[in-house]
Symmetry: D2
Subunit: 133 residues, 4 copies
Amino acid sequence: MAEDFVFEDTVRIYDTDAQGVVHYAGYYRFFTDAAENFMRETLGISYPLLDNDTWFVVVESKAQYKKSARLGDNLSVVLRPKKLSRKALRFDFQILRNGELICDGYITQVAINKKEWKAVELPKVLLQKIDML
Amino acid sequence: MAEDFVFEDTVRIYDTDAQGVVHYAGYYRFFTDAAENFMRETLGISYPLLDNDTWFVVVESKAQYKKSARLGDNLSVVLRPKKLSRKALRFDFQILRNGELICDGYITQVAINKKEWKAVELPKVLLQKIDML
Amino acid sequence: MAEDFVFEDTVRIYDTDAQGVVHYAGYYRFFTDAAENFMRETLGISYPLLDNDTWFVVVESKAQYKKSARLGDNLSVVLRPKKLSRKALRFDFQILRNGELICDGYITQVAINKKEWKAVELPKVLLQKIDML
Amino acid sequence: MAEDFVFEDTVRIYDTDAQGVVHYAGYYRFFTDAAENFMRETLGISYPLLDNDTWFVVVESKAQYKKSARLGDNLSVVLRPKKLSRKALRFDFQILRNGELICDGYITQVAINKKEWKAVELPKVLLQKIDML
């Protein structure tokens, strides 16, 4: 059975707002950092780069907030990639604190040629990595 | 017939990223600013405050990206509030550039007593304002 | 005598952190927004663009925090431009709340040709505007 | 001779702007993250917390930008603490890429009792740690 890709992070002061908890839009930083780590491990390149000519562009994002995370909380961000088509990929995320679900959501992205800004196929090495998970 | 609440804004340099367009999570700034203007006009208080004892906490956020917004683009953010229950309210957003849809989405929020962090009923003046829209 | 350029803004929830006040790095948003408004009025173009070929790049930033600004505070950002050379310009800022100084600081920037990433002279129309202030 | 405290980080997509490089205010994230790591190692508590009753509040920040950092760049952030008084501490930072200086600057902070928002003395364990560096 597949193993999840897990990224560990800590709530920083700039993630929080005057409600004393992580700002709702701030959770997308954890999604982005997990995606960046997954892509670096898979392709050796910095998200949202796929290769020198190809970018991911995000076409949808969603988050559901179950519990409030606070300054200094240690969070585990679980990433599960899901191939939607030859050109589109969704990353599903679960953010856990001590095993308890804090937030889940996803970002959906399409591969494009960055000069022409047109959809292209996902790199094979990425698809192979996803099949192995 | 109801009129929409519209908030005008401009894409700033800090909204963009190295792809040359607004960062996907940056669109939530436009959502937040429109909500803040709507709430200020309705309750005379700064979002996410509802009154001195009551806060909105966001329980869900979503955005779909149709076109890419760039530095200096003038955007119209249309806000439509939707009462989900006596305690929960959704703001639906459409972001337009020259009448063309760039992005849509929503944030769903629940009123809470900020000391006890427990759900409470939405202020009547807010519900009345929403009924009038 | 010269008139100051003044930009009005409000503290938003995303400007604040869990200390209940504006995050120290968040004050640079107010500096940037004032610069953006000044440049739009002067050159009709979005900061940090100077014209289609020319960008400002920031080479120094500084802020001193005197008082803490809170959610919903109405702030006046006073901008005073200072020509340092034919290629470099400093914007001095004072952020006031009800006439009281909250924060002051500056950003220093150099005009560059954005393709060659080399310093060039500031646009004449900008220098003329600054002389008139 | 004292050893420097060094924190390693990577430029993420949200650090950059449409100029293709790290946004000037974005470098303060690297300063904050280095401070957070230093304080965690020293006091075992999340910056800007000093202990349960005491916070750091930033009273000054400055950065000078020498070179432009880009997406994926691996940065070393060197932190050197400097005691200014019994209540105030400055962190000096140098951000290096492959040994080359990209940016330097500092943040100065004062310890306060977070309920009374009044200056208090720095914790002894922190001062001892600084003397050892």
